[in-house]
């Protein structure tokens, strides 16, 4: 109320007028006497009466709500009492009673954006219009409408400038990258700040014990209970985040938890939320051909009984199923003489479906208690989440308890606290990647096997397997148990001392502590742990505490206002971990006994480590506003980090931003706002601890000898802080009474002195060096466009569109360093080259070796694929790498629609990612095993010319040379049966019509580089035909490259707000029910294989993460169905 902002007055003119009028009529000096006040509350917009409005006397426990006709009656203790009106969807109002007995009041619907107050750095609340940089705000309704186990997933499609990826189902790592990956050596995750508490979330939480048993334990941020979040503010660029310093380089996500609303009576909110995930689409494995290397047919072997289908031939190129063919198979019954009897060869297309549970279930239940009566203002919240996964025997459980409370100890001193306690855990997280991953082996189960026959997998040395080399997927699901428990406590204690009206002092203690135990218990039966299974246990602890303080002076004059703050922060982090396990493959002394002492001491893998880090900081900020037209922000911060050498330890970085309200200059009235803004900011960054001076590593004992080694990574003792400099410009328009909203931002970020590891030639003695160099330039656009095309008494339709585009270019690396390699997967590498004449310098570029071709320009075969010989008479890879793609999207577009009819709301969120590629290791391994349908689909059938080599066929190949010879996609001609145009070949000892040929030539170069042809391989007689089982081009990375474009329906929900009348009848304040679904894939550009492009990122244990790589992240696509009921009483 005590607000001098003219803007505020104009916006609240009706209300202010009423207030002023009432004050005039009822002078304050009037006598103090308790009395009854009655009145009617109506909506300022359409004059309808409002039932259920909370009416309370501030600072007391007196309160009531309006009846069905919007009428209330309340007893006021004296005429200085303040009545507080609050109602969901409307601005709250307060006014002093005086001696009035009737107060009718009009509540204004809450208007978004115009004059919105947002939380900015250090938790300072600011009017959005005064900010010279872009922040984005997501409200609790948006976050909890549809249940997401990880809060980050609920931001998908709702925020511009943000890319979110996840590896799989609930509990998996989720990556959030704001304004593109700009750090070349870290995982680029933003800093999360929950009620002031910094919580670092990484995507490298991958562990697991035992050989190839890799487990994604999810990231720290998933410990935060989505139900307790009031709002999320995303500070995208350095301008917004500069005050967070060091860790703000990748942006900051400010999370504010729910508090009791001032003046509220005690309220209890209960919500229950259940989602069923129904599997809808799977990896596209073929169900046509049985296990085997050769697709025999009766005519090949002279009879209806085909050769035995042997399970140790791990390939899906055997005889065709469901053709009435018979063969001895793995489960053939034995005749009286113990000889296996042939049985029909049949496909089992539902193997995966049968292996998985029918649905996954996530059930989230929350109880919250809030009250703001008397001197203590508190809210307590308990949430329990239970998840049972699609993969049998997998689960996740969470319990979160939070308490926020504040109390005015004296009139000027407020103490408040937010405390969160959470326990996240699982009895079994499934292994990911290759190895002990049950899904991998479910997909690798040949189609002629009914997977359910593997269900009773037995135990010990007798675990049921199709053959040595196969794993039993049920065994992996039930007997490889990767459990974890993570306790986390985080919170703050804050003292705010408002010394005078203009001066205040705030001090806080912030804590974030976590304690995690991971354990793997593996029974005997996994072939990579052949010695009685294995066991491992590890604990890790993390601790961070911050002390901060902030002194603020603020003063409003008639035309301008000033706000000056200075503060400081003391950060201290420490952590430790201990791990004990059997060395891979060495196993346990006695099976099924999971103790460390059951590991032979010489097989024990043991280690522990610790770290500590501190940063001391001082900072200051000045906000200056003039006439509600110009706002200027200046900030400065200086850090002293323990991780940098003493001489470079101190680093200073300033920022400045400007907001200019054009609409107020042009006097466009309260309905319109046009804001121009601009900002310049720097952020400095330190590095991890212990990165200046090397220590020797330990390579393990060699008997009694100790083996220390000098580390292969070269450190630099003189590291400088990293420095990001950002400039951003933007325009915000809000017009037609908030019916049309636009916000556009263009930004550039220059990252200098990045601390990054680059590879060195081994002959330098080192594998790489950590340097402090380089210049990366990013720029991008963020646009949001919102509108309310329909708004009538009954109908409201809100649309919001957001657009994100970002690119990052490497302008410089260190002297003598031309590129940095990010990862190397499935014969594709992601390399960042410095921009020059031949390289575009983009981060995210993918390189691969294309098909090797004849490079002798004088040869008639110039450009033809140069094939290998013998069994390798197929495509070979070229010596050099060529650019084949980029894993970053061209742009991302999010669309949100909210359609309201009376109390019914339909919300839709769409997410369109355009451009970019990814590499699928799953495809590579599934195709090498000849199990992918795509391999069949990509075969070229020459029609009538198939089946026999001929000169006509050669001519046909030449006629289609663009596709068959000169395309970079290897094209196999022929296939597994005559239906595919298969050619005869006799590698099995029989002549089988499952041959293909790779079109090209075989030959070599003479000493002068002239191509000498050995033979053409174009389909003419003399062409080398290979069995279909060899048709996958293992060395050609492009074969595994997919377009990442997709459109997803992120969320769809239909909710019903039960009218207050009815709710009150059952003694409730509010009652909401909703039905929803989420993450439904609507379209993928390259969907043939069935990998979700969003899963194309790999959490790595080395601290980086590989974007654009997919390795058995093959949880099926699901169609979730969720129900939510929430009520307050």
């Amino acid at each position: 109320m005590n607000n001098n902002y003219p803007k505020y007055l104009t916006k609240h003119l009706p209300f202010v007028a009423i207030l002023v009028l009432s004050l005039l009529i009822n002078p304050l000096a009037f006598a103090q006497n308790p009395h009854i006040v009655t009145g009617t509350v109506t909506s300022a917009e359409d004059n309808t009466t409002l039932p259920g409005v909370s009416v309370a006397i501030k600072g007391t426990s007196i309160g009531t709500i309006t009846d069905v006709n919007g009428k209330y009656s309340i007893k006021v203790p004296d005429n200085t009492s303040i009545i507080h009106f609050s109602f969901i969807g409307f601005d709250t109002q307060e006014l002093m009673v005086g001696d009035k007995t009737t107060i009718d009041i009009k509540l204004k619907p809450t208007m978004e954006n115009i004059d919105e107050v947002v939380v900015t750095a250090l938790g300072i609340k600011r009017q959005e219009k005064s900010l010279g940089y872009s922040v984005e705000n997501v409200k609790s309704e948006e976050l909890s409408r549809v249940a997401h186990e990880n809060i980050l997933n609920s931001l998908s499609g709702k925020v511009s400038g943000v890319v979110i990826n996840s590896t799989g189902g609930p509990g998996s790592s989720v990556s959030m990258v704001i304004r593109g990956a700009t750090s070349l050596s870290t995982d680029n995750q933003p800093l999360f700040v929950v009620d002031g508490v910094p919580i670092a979330s990484t995507v490298n939480n991958v562990g697991g014990f035992g050989n190839d048993n890799r487990v994604d334990y999810g990231n720290a941020i998933s410990d935060i209970d989505p139900e307790s979040i009031e709002s999320i503010t995303i500070l995208k660029g350095p301008s917004a985040a500069a005050l967070y310093g060091t860790r703000a380089g990748n942006g900051v996500v400010l999370i504010t938890t729910k508090k009791a609303k001032e003046g509220d009576n005690m309220k209890i909110t209960v919500s229950t939320n259940t989602v069923f995930d129904m599997p809808s689409e799977f990896i596209n494995v073929q169900n046509k051909f049985a296990n085997g290397y050769f697709s025999y047919r009766p005519e090949n072997v002279g009879g209806g009984i085909l050769p035995e289908i042997k399970m140790n031939e791990q390939a899906g190129a055997g005889p065709e199923c469901d053709k009435g063919y018979w063969a001895v198979q793995w489960n053939s019954p034995l005749d009286a003489n113990g000889v296996p009897i042939p049985i029909p060869i049949e496909s089992h297309p539902n193997n995966i479906k049968n292996f998985l549970n029918d649905y996954a279930i996530t059930s989230t239940n929350t109880v919250a208690l809030a009250s703001s009566k008397g001197v203590v203002n508190y809210r307590a919240n308990y949430t329990n989440m239970i998840y049972k996964g699609l993969i049998p025997n997998t689960d996740l459980n969470k319990n979160n308890f939070s308490l926020t409370a504040s109390s005015k100890l004296w009139d000027k001193l407020t103490i408040s606290t937010d405390i969160n306690f959470g326990l996240t855990g699982a009895d079994n997280r499934p292994a990911t990647n290759r190895g002990a991953n049950p899904l991998e082996w479910a997909y690798k189960t040949p189609t002629n096997v009914d997977i359910r026959d593997l269900r009773d997998y037995g135990s010990g040395s007798n675990v049921l397997k199709l053959a040595e080399g196969f794993e039993n997927p049920y065994f992996l699901a039930y007997e490889v148990n990767n459990s974890f428990d993570r306790y986390r406590i985080y919170g703050n204690i804050t003292a705010l001392w408002e010394i005078t009206k203009n001066i205040s002092f705030k001090a806080r203690y912030l804590l974030n502590k976590s304690d995690e135990v991971r354990e793997t218990k593996m029974a005997p039966g996994y072939s990579k742990e052949p010695n009685n299974g294995t066991y491992g246990i590890g604990t890790s602890k993390g601790y961070e505490r911050n002390w901060d303080f902030l002194a603020t002076y603020k003063k409003d004059w008639s035309n301008f206002n000033l706000n000056v703050s200075v503060g400081g922060n003391l950060l201290f982090q420490s952590g430790s971990s201990i791990s004990n396990s059997a060395k891979p493959g060495t196993g346990l002394t006695v099976p099924n006994l999971y103790t460390i002492q059951n590991i032979n001491s010489s097989n024990l893998n043991y280690y522990n480590s610790r770290y500590e880090k501190a940063i001391n900081s001082v900072y200051g900020l000045i906000n200056f506003g003039w006439k509600d037209i110009v706002y200027i922000d200046l900030t400065a911060r200086n850090d002293w980090s323990s991780t940098l050498p003493a001489e470079n330890r101190s680093y200073f970085y300033p920022s400045a931003s400007l907001s200019f309200l054009l609409s107020n200059v042009l006097n466009m009235g309260s309905a319109n706002m046009i804001k121009l803004r601009g900002g310049w900011a720097q952020v400095g960054n330190d590095t991890g601890p212990y990165r200046l001076v090397p220590v020797y590593g330990n390579a393990g004992q060699w008997g009694d000898a100790t083996r220390l080694y000098k580390q292969s990574g070269l450190l630099s003792p003189n590291l400088l802080p990293e420095q990001a400099t950002s400039v951003e410009y933007g325009i915000d328009v809000n017009t037609f009474f908030n019916r049309l909203r636009f916000s556009g931002t263009y930004y550039t970020v220059d990252n200098r002195n990045q601390i990054l590891g680059v590879q060195l030639a081994a002959s330098t003695g080192f594998s790489g060096v950590q340097i402090n160099a380089g210049l990366l330039k990013s720029d991008g656009w963020e646009i949001t466009l919102g509108g309310t095309p329909v708004k009538t008494d009954d109908w409201t339709w809100d649309l919001n569109l957001n657009f994100t585009k970002n690119k990052t270019i490497i302008k410089e690396l260190a002297e003598g360093v031309d590129f940095i390699e990010f990862w190397d997967n499935a014969r594709v590498k992601s390399i960042g080259y410095v921009k020059d004449d031949t390289h575009d310098g983009l981060v995210g570029n993918l390189y691969s070796r294309e098909i090797r071709r004849v490079d002798d320009e004088n040869s008639p075969y110039y450009g033809y694929p140069l094939l290998g010989s013998g069994l390798e008479t197929k495509w070979q890879s070229a010596e050099d790498y060529s650019k084949v793609g980029n894993y970053n999207p061209d742009f991302i577009l999010g669309l949100q629609s909210a359609l309201t009819f009376k109390n019914l709301t339909l919300n839709l969120t769409f997410d369109w990612r355009s451009g970019g590629q990814y590499v699928s290791q799953t495809y590579r391994y599934i195709s090498e095993a000849v199990l992918s349908q795509s391999l069949l689909d990509n075969l070229v059938n020459p029609g009538d010319l198939g089946g026999t080599p001929s000169d006509e066929l050669k001519q046909w190949v030449l006629d289609h040379s663009d596709e068959l010879l000169f395309s970079n996609d290897p094209k196999a001609i022929g296939g597994p049966t005559p239906d595919y145009g298969g050619f005869p070949e006799s590698f099995s000892g029989y002549t089988v019509n499952d041959g293909f040929f790779a079109p090209g030539v075989v030959g070599h170069y003479d000493d002068d580089g002239n191509f000498i042809l050995e033979h053409e391989n174009l389909g003419q007689p003399g062409t080398s035909f290979l069995p279909y089982v060899l048709s996958y081009p293992w060395d050609i990375g492009r074969a595994n490259l997919f377009d990442a474009d997709y459109i997803k329906l992120r969320e769809i929900s239909l909710s019903y707000h039960v009218p207050s009348k009815i709710a009150q009848r059952i003694k409730m304040h509010n009652l909401d029910v909703s039905l929803y679904s989420r993450n439904i894939m609507l379209w993928t550009k390259d969907s043939g294989f069935g990998v979700d492009p969003e899963r194309a990122f790999q959490a790595e244990s080395n601290g980086r993460f590989s974007q654009g790589v997919e390795r058995f992240n093959v949880n099926p696509w699901v169609i979730p169905i969720g129900f939510k009921v929430q009520f307050t009483f």
Binding site: A495, P530, F572, K583, V695, R707, S712, A761, A762
Partner: protein, 548 residues
């Protein structure tokens, strides 16, 4: 008053907390998780270097080079092992320079501490590792190598000529010999010296033996230099003692408690039915040679076939009687035609797979047609190679047998005293002692008499079992033993070197690598490769006309 006092107390306690929360930033950044190099005893680095070298010896000599030299053949995923299907993606020398980084550190600390023993050992291990680099690749960074710590100017080290590396090695070994010729040393830790347990005398012999190896390596390219060097050593045995008895062999034992310290083909940690042990079969070339001489070492290295084949008269016979499979010729012909398999070996005891055949997995009528599985009609390695460790499972860095064969060759050229035959005989004897069959030497030597260079190199080839790299180097230098490539060989000639690795050197040290590639001499077998081919000649072979 009361309230103000409280506020002051709160403020004061906050300030106290803040001040006490200030940490000493210098102390915080001292790494508690690793050994500070300044305080570390250099002995702790030594076993890392020695075992690293040893594992390379085995990786080569029991791996691809055993395939090239036809000691063994794989019958599955065999193109690298059997057929030298190599390219510039494989054979990265990173592991060798990793060893050298540690050795360099060890050497610096030895100099710092004034430890002559350690200085000598460092030089020997440096020579050994750089020797392999020069042998396998040719020109390589040597003088500018390992110096990235000294500044960015060493991030792209120039390649030194192969010749300079060999000469550098020999100079270092000479120095090592001097350093190791005293009687007392400081700071020897016997447990940490997993090769010679701190015995300077044995190290000294190792140094001089290694010098012999490298002088002989230059015998064709620089005969005068080689002659002088060998004469210097062999004419002054007091100053230049060498390894002549198997007791002094430079061998390192495995520990056998985990995959990383166990014999690579063990079946304790690798139980896959297509694992290393199963996949590795004896090669016919070696088996037949050993049988020819009735060599007792064959039984130490190989298992007899589980089921011998016997040719049965008549037609349609194929039955197993008393552990032997009787097969008639028509069945054999049909099988061989169907599987494109070559010949049949009726040997009742030992059968090796012929070198470089396409049908290795089908060889000798095996009923199990899959790749790399058990074959009852072909010899697997001896059961000892299923173990993780054992008295014969050793990393054999250098042997008395090799030294004696070098002496024999040198004597043949007149570069060393004694008769070639005497050294030849001793070479065989020492090898047989090393393999535990020394008692059968007398019988054996009668059937394998000295017969000039061919016999020396042939016996050296046999003696190099599981350390076949040295045989490959001898073959390049002499064209002996006169092995022949089989039909599945990538090209019909034995490779001469490893490719410079694309991802490492060519991508990261482009100009220098290309300059070195430029200096290679392409042979007719380089096929579709450029200069950087396994069939290009390094300086050592250029102009020698050898091996082809």
């Amino acid at each position: 008053m009361y309230k103000i006092k409280n506020k002051l107390i709160i403020l004061l306690s906050i300030l106290t907390a803040l001040v006490s929360s200030c940490k000493d930033l210098d102390e915080l950044n001292i790494n508690p998780n690793g050994v500070d190099p300044k305080n570390a005893d250099l002995n702790l680095l030594l076993p890392t270097i020695i075992t690293g070298i040893g594992q390379n010896v085995i990786n080569l000599g029991f791996g691809d080079l055993a395939g090239v030299m036809q000691h063994t053949q794989y019958d599955g995923w065999s193109s690298s092992h059997n057929d030298f299907d190599w390219d510039n993606r494989g054979h990265n020398w990173r592991g060798y320079y990793d060893i050298l980084r540690n050795d360099d550190e060890y050497h610096k600390k030895a100099i710092e501490g004034g430890y002559n023993f350690h200085k000598g050992v460092a030089l020997i291990l440096k020579a050994y590792t750089f020797g392999y680099i020069a042998d396998l690749w040719g020109d390589a960074p040597y003088t500018q190598a390992l110096k990235a710590e000294d500044g960015t100017e060493y991030f792209k080290p120039v390649y030194d000529p192969q010749k300079d590396i060999y000469h550098g090695i020999l100079a270092d070994l000479d120095t090592a010999n001097m350093l190791l010729s005293n009687n007392s040393y400081k700071n020897i830790n016997k447990v940490q010296d997993v090769l010679y347990h701190g015995d300077a005398g044995k190290w000294r012999k190792f140094a001089n033996s290694l010098a012999l190896r490298y002088y002989m390596r230059l015998s064709v390219k620089e005969p005068q230099f080689a002659e002088a060097g060998i004469k210097k050593i062999t004419n002054n045995p007091d100053i230049y003692p060498v390894i002549t008895e198997a007791d002094d062999d430079a061998n390192v034992s495995y520990i056998g408690t985990s995959p990383s310290d166990s014999w690579p083909s063990n079946t304790v940690f690798d139980t896959s039915p297509t694992g290393n042990y199963i996949r590795t079969k004896m090669c016919k070339t070696l088996v037949d040679t050993l049988q020819n001489y009735n060599d007792p070492r064959l039984g130490v290295w190989a298992n007899k076939v589980t089921i011998p084949l016997v040719l049965a008269p008549g037609t349609g016979v194929d039955e197993i009687i008393n552990g032997k499979r009787y097969v008639s010729q028509d069945i054999i012909d049909e099988y061989n035609a169907k599987y494109d398999s070559v010949g049949v070996d009726f040997d009742p005891e030992y059968v090796g797979i012929p070198a470089q055949i396409f049908s290795a997995q089908f060889y000798n009528l095996t009923p199990y047609l899959e790749q790399a599985v058990f074959n009852p009609h072909v010899s697997q390695l001896n059961d000892i190679y299923k173990e993780t460790a054992g008295p014969l499972l050793l990393m054999r860095l250098m042997s008395a047998a090799e030294v004696n064969f070098i002496l024999s060759e040198a004597a043949l050229y007149g570069w060393a005293p004694g008769s070639p035959e005497e050294h030849y005989n001793n070479g065989i004897r020492q090898s047989m002692i090393a393999w535990g069959v020394g008692d059968q030497y007398d019988d054996y030597i009668k059937g394998a008499p000295y017969n000039g260079l061919e016999s020396i190199i042939l016996q050296k080839w046999i003696a190099s079992w599981t350390a076949a790299a040295e045989s490959w180097f001898d073959y390049r230098r002499t064209g002996l033993p006169a092995l022949k490539t089989g039909e599945s060989a990538k090209v019909p000639a034995f490779p001469l070197r490893f490719y410079y690795n694309n991802d490492n050197e060519i991508a990261l040290n482009t100009e220098n690598a290309n300059a070195a590639i430029e200096k290679l001499e392409r042979t007719e077998y380089a096929g579709s490769d450029g200069n950087n081919s396994a069939w290009s000649k390094t300086w050592l072979l250029q102009g020698t006309g050898l091996p082809y």
